[in-house]
Symmetry: C2
Subunit: 232 residues, 2 copies
């Protein structure tokens, strides 16, 4: 038996953070009501280093999810927790093989694209390695293109793909894909080599769960969503 | 009902790959018999780019796990699949909150330390960004120290920690931790700031599942395990 939490869960979030964006989409898809507590990742050196937040989350990253039962600081661990405590609607398929396929695609983004390109890494390239802004941008696009090429290849040929990566309901793949594509578009990347991914992005942006989780809808938003290229 | 596979599963692996090392430990802990198919990541530009392997795994990374039901290319997705198809012995706790804690610690390594420091990233720093070997080593140690500091902090104060990260049985945290510590030791890092992590490493290396998965025990091994610092 799963004991449900009594008070509203809290999500420590930053409007532009891809990992926080993932958690917001998952909470919205599950229909869970939650409070957002903004953590500004860049102003005054970053609120993620404030003592109170560091105590709660020694990784100094966002998101952090808190309810009466748990304190979770990795976006995919938060999403697996939501899936276990609020099974409906499911964000993962039911068979182990399909679940593994969906998790792999999600981790292709969450483990192999995003961590090499997040704020702290790009800042280190500029400040500590002395990279030029141009080299930093080439670095960014290199890893994103490598990852998106592989995702497009996998999704363009698999019979499990429907309106979304797995059938006609959005789930863990879209939760990771949409924030990554927002980032890529914001950096000026051309998404025309990825028609399957762009088609899925358009499907997602028809849904309130994704729209409400997007950059410009956040209480701490300081800018708009990137403009979305038309579907071909 | 879960349909079990009939033929022996195959793991495409490289002796020094941390992600493949994770999958080997998990298979051993579960007592699953499997065949290793070596993929040499550095010789002749890397066998992960051979057409046959690229077709199976468009990410060009290891490991890749194959059985009669699935083809899985992300180590944590492989381990979740093994957990779902072979529940005993468990690699995750039973309650959602504890599962989330364990998954978060594992992802602190698998998503926030390892991807910034794997072979392809270090090679890019040297070849494409023109970093010196010294800068590359400082980069490596920076991200590993940041990650291990946070893990040591989390594990040194949590009442769930026993001989291992969660109680007295090894699981997903150790599966990720041991390969990461092997890498750190091999790069000459001092692990004395991390007594809790070193204590867990020593416990793991008493177990055949970890020893048999280690570098020097692989059919494609080209070197020994790093020397392990004494426990304090």
């Amino acid at each position: 038996m799963i004991t449900k939490s009594n008070s509203k869960p809290r999500l420590y979030s930053f409007w532009r953070s891809s990992a926080a964006f993932r958690a917001r989409i998952a909470l919205n898809l599950k229909g869970i009501s939650y409070d957002i507590i903004p953590v500004h990742l860049t102003k005054n050196g970053g609120a993620q280093f404030d003592p109170e937040y560091s105590e709660k989350n020694p990784t100094h990253l966002v998101p952090l999810f808190e309810d009466d039962l748990a304190n979770i600081h990795q976006s995919l661990a938060i999403i697996e927790y939501l899936e276990e405590t609020h099974p409906s609607p499911p964000l993962l398929p039911s068979s182990p093989g399909d679940r593994a396929w969906v998790r792999s695609l999600a981790m292709d983004i969450a483990s192999d694209i995003h961590p090499i390109n997040n704020v702290r890494v790009l800042r280190y390239l500029l400040k500590n390695l002395g990279c030029s802004i141009e080299s930093k941008d080439i670095w960014y696009q290199h890893w994103v293109q490598l990852g998106l090429n592989s995702l497009e290849k996998q999704l363009s040929i698999d019979s499990r793909v429907g309106l979304f990566a797995y059938g006609d309901q959005p789930g863990l793949v879209e939760i990771c894909l949409v924030p990554q594509l927002f980032n890529a578009l914001n950096s000026g990347m051309d998404l025309s080599p990825y028609p399957t991914l762009v088609k899925i992005l358009h499907e997602c942006l028809k849904l309130p769960a994704f729209i409400d989780a997007s950059w410009e809808k956040q209480i701490d938003a300081e800018g708009s969503n990137p403009s979305i290229p038309p579907q071909k």
